[in-house]
Symmetry: C2
Subunit: 493 residues, 2 copies
């Protein structure tokens, strides 16, 4: 083979990059988010002529970017681990005026087991921290967890990607994902060349999940020759916010047993539960261990993902999380360990936060009151804001919005006119992308069009967080209302 | 398709996992390292009967695990960013007794640009920190760098993987890698299904790199139908420790131009330079910008990787780094950005350390003296330890070891007898793996067998860091000497 290419062409160009990468789409940080960044840069430089003074990023669950305060105890411990000089005897008199005793004690315990936050740890995560996670799971579910089957990760995303990659034997390997779904799933399946097998959530019944829908979906995919091998459940839902009932969770496990599917449970919103009486969170691990059929309990292969980025913790920027494997083949666990070791280890600051999230201050500890007060404040505010924004959406002409039982998002459906469809087509956009772009340019609010998550044909949605600060929330809602009615006027058929 | 599999078999098992993952090998944390972990756990629990009291991990460049102290200024700034309460007006009187003024000022600057270390940043990295990196490159090379072509990463590894993945169009896509090489490269190529195209470094001339060797390698691979599209250079070398001359660096760039290859420059050991007069570090970016031929300067596509894990910084556990792209196609840059956005962002603690590494205290700053003193202490100790261990290896019977001009490793060649080969074969091991296992069991020292990096047929090596603490170094060396001579006695032909 000789080198005959035109030398003015780049060696690596868009026509010869990895075609799987070209297929990847990730709307949460897609075109609209890039445009939002441009506007933000303009505004900071005092450039451009916008009808608003700042960009409000509702495209991503990033609470601290919108000034949600971090949990004080967590940051105290983390800072002591970062600067162990503060723990030296000669500094403690001063330091104990700045730090409560339990944060000092926790940092000492962590550093004793970690050594230094600047050292690579065990590739699976610090053993002490994996024990903390196992204890947390046991307290949550009433069933033991095995620390050697827990892997700490850089956020839930990297763990999800490891498992999806592991499950991809070839292009016929099929993974069931909900529609609408969080686009990490479709993006990763595109990247690994696996086949997404869609199942639909039912909007009319609060985005509920119907086992018959799952059965139809797997049956039809298998008929077409797809080797369906896993089911992804996002509970509480993203972007949909539903929280599954205990019966539903049990039935999904039975379904996985009957259909021989690995169950991937994305449970990162497990503490974002806004109707705790009617719809409490039931983990798949607990439901599996409580399943009446021993063959199911000992058979169904389950991987459950959790994260420090969500809940009331909101430490997205640290990139921390874990997954727990149940009933997985030991040789598969070895492969997962090997892949973790190629990345050396998850970052230690993320690992530390996993320890703190899973083992927060307890009643009687010096920081207990401040900790529980902070959690309560954030939680109650999330409830208020979710209800308020849901109400605002449902008041809008042509908009209907299911309640958020959990997670950080609302996913309203918007009826868009033929005129909108025509105008969007001119710009080579889906109508909901066109709507969302118009919203950004008019208000500075950045959401994600429903087409980024998948939706039933000819329905249009967008996903918005309800994370803008409470004292700005009325303004935020009224900006959206004004935009929506003027948009409707402009494009009325 | 009906479900006919045996229900006692796991859905996901070793016979149906992703076959590319099964092919991945990563010796740095392979079997030997797993055995070392077992022994460490035994020793901590007071179990087992070993002839030593602790495991010494020389298998991985992890200085802080072996008690190298972190740079004080770096940790001070990081801890203030973690706990911004310390920067509140009412706390500053106390805090300024614990922190020098420049660490407080730097934390304020960083937090002003970041917001919170708990928030996702721009997927490419915080713009302010990318500007710091661009400034650092300009100071290093005397040529400007474009912050919009710099990507912050979770350690160099994740950046390398992004680029190797991008370069893999199909299984014919070939990437040139050195032999011996750092196994991240072979592992990643196996994972993406690309073809490794080996070129050999010449041990006899200090692991030098001969352009004729490169030409032969690319020509032969192309004759066999491989679409060779990139060249990986590790400089300073890992595991080999060589540092390329300025002429060599320039010639490699010319070669890439002539052969139409993207140049991936792994320059993570750029400050680990132990013969600074004879062999200073010359970055590929500088050599490219200084190249006499304008067509080369404006044509050769270069990606250079750097990390906070190495040098005198050694902050491995934070997972931070960056890569700079030069002359890359803008549509390819968009694809890289998209893939970064799927992972949301590199962790903020790694990003902060990149800022600090690239912009350390300057002459006149409050922390300058302590900073430069700490760097000097670590550096001089690394030089002493590298020379000492090199001497020890060269004194051993049947061992020859090239000097470390750079990096953190020595890669001695060991002559092993036929009896060793026979004993190793019985255990299904390569002779150097057998030797390294015996070393671990006898001394607690964990190294990596040469077979994990690749080596010329019928030569045997191992890679060892020279990172054990200086006050333990004599004992470490004498343990190795004793083991080596008794091993040789036992297996003398």
């Amino acid at each position: 083979m000789t080198v005959t290419k035109n030398n003015t062409e780049k060696v690596l160009n868009i026509n010869n990059v990895n075609p799987l990468i070209k297929n990847v789409e990730y709307a949460v940080r897609g075109k609209l988010a890039i445009r939002a960044e441009e506007i933000r840069t303009d505004l900071e430089a005092g450039k451009g002529n916008y009808g608003f003074s700042k960009v409000v990023s509702c495209n991503i669950g990033n609470p601290q970017q919108l000034n949600q305060a971090p949990i004080t105890f967590f940051r105290q411990v983390a800072s002591l681990c970062d600067n162990p000089d503060l723990l030296k005897k000669e500094n403690l008199p001063l330091v104990s005026q700045l730090y409560p005793s339990d944060s000092i004690a926790r940092a000492q315990t962590l550093l004793h087991s970690i050594g230094s936050v600047g050292a690579y740890s065990h590739s699976q995560g610090v053993p002490h921290i994996r024990n903390t996670v196992a204890q947390f799971i046991q307290e949550r579910d009433g069933h033991a967890a095995d620390a050697s089957h827990i892997f700490l990760t850089q956020g839930a995303s990297s763990g999800v990607q490891t498992l999806l990659s592991m499950l991809t034997q070839n292009e016929k390997s099929g993974i069931m994902i909900p529609i609408p779904q969080y686009p990490l799933y479709s993006a990763s399946l595109a990247l690994y060349g696996a086949t997404p097998v869609n199942y639909y959530l039912d909007e009319a019944t609060g985005w509920s999940l119907d086992i018959n829908q799952l059965t139809e979906s797997v049956t039809s995919a298998r008929k077409q020759g797809t080797d369906v091998r896993a089911l992804v459940i996002i509970n509480p839902g993203n972007p949909t916010g539903q929280c599954l009932t205990a019966d539903n969770v049990r039935d999904i496990i039975t379904f996985c047993h009957e259909q021989r599917l690995v169950l991937l449970a994305d449970e990162v919103y497990q503490t974002n539960i806004y109707e705790p009486e009617a719809r409490p969170f039931v983990s798949f691990k607990k439901a599996l261990m409580d399943h009446p059929d021993a063959e199911v309990r000992e058979g169904v292969e389950l991987v459950s993902f959790h994260s420090i980025s969500k809940g009331m913790v909101g430490e997205c920027g640290r990139r921390g999380g874990y997954f727990e494997c149940v009933n997985l083949d030991s040789l598969v666990l070895e492969q997962i360990y090997k892949m973790s070791s190629v990345s050396l280890c998850p970052n230690l600051h993320g690992q530390i936060l996993v320890d703190l999230m899973c083992n927060p201050p307890r009643l009687g500890d010096a920081s207990y009151e401040s900790y529980s007060g902070e959690i309560k404040t954030i939680y109650e505010s999330l409830v208020r804001r979710s209800k308020k924004l849901e109400g605002v959406f449902n008041e809008m002409e042509g908009v209907s919005c299911q309640a958020a039982q959990g997670s950080m998002y609302l996913f309203p459906q918007v009826t868009l006119s033929d005129k909108v469809a025509a105008a969007a087509a001119k710009e080579s956009m889906a109508p909901d992308a066109f709507y969302s772009h118009a919203m950004l340019e008019a208000t500075g609010v950045c959401v994600v069009p429903g087409s980024g998550f998948g939706q039933k044909a000819n329905t249009w949605h967008f996903r918005s967080t309800f994370l803008p600060e409470e004292h700005l929330f009325d303004q935020f809602c009224s900006d959206l209302e004004k935009f929506h009615s003027s948009f409707l006027e402009k494009y009325r058929d």
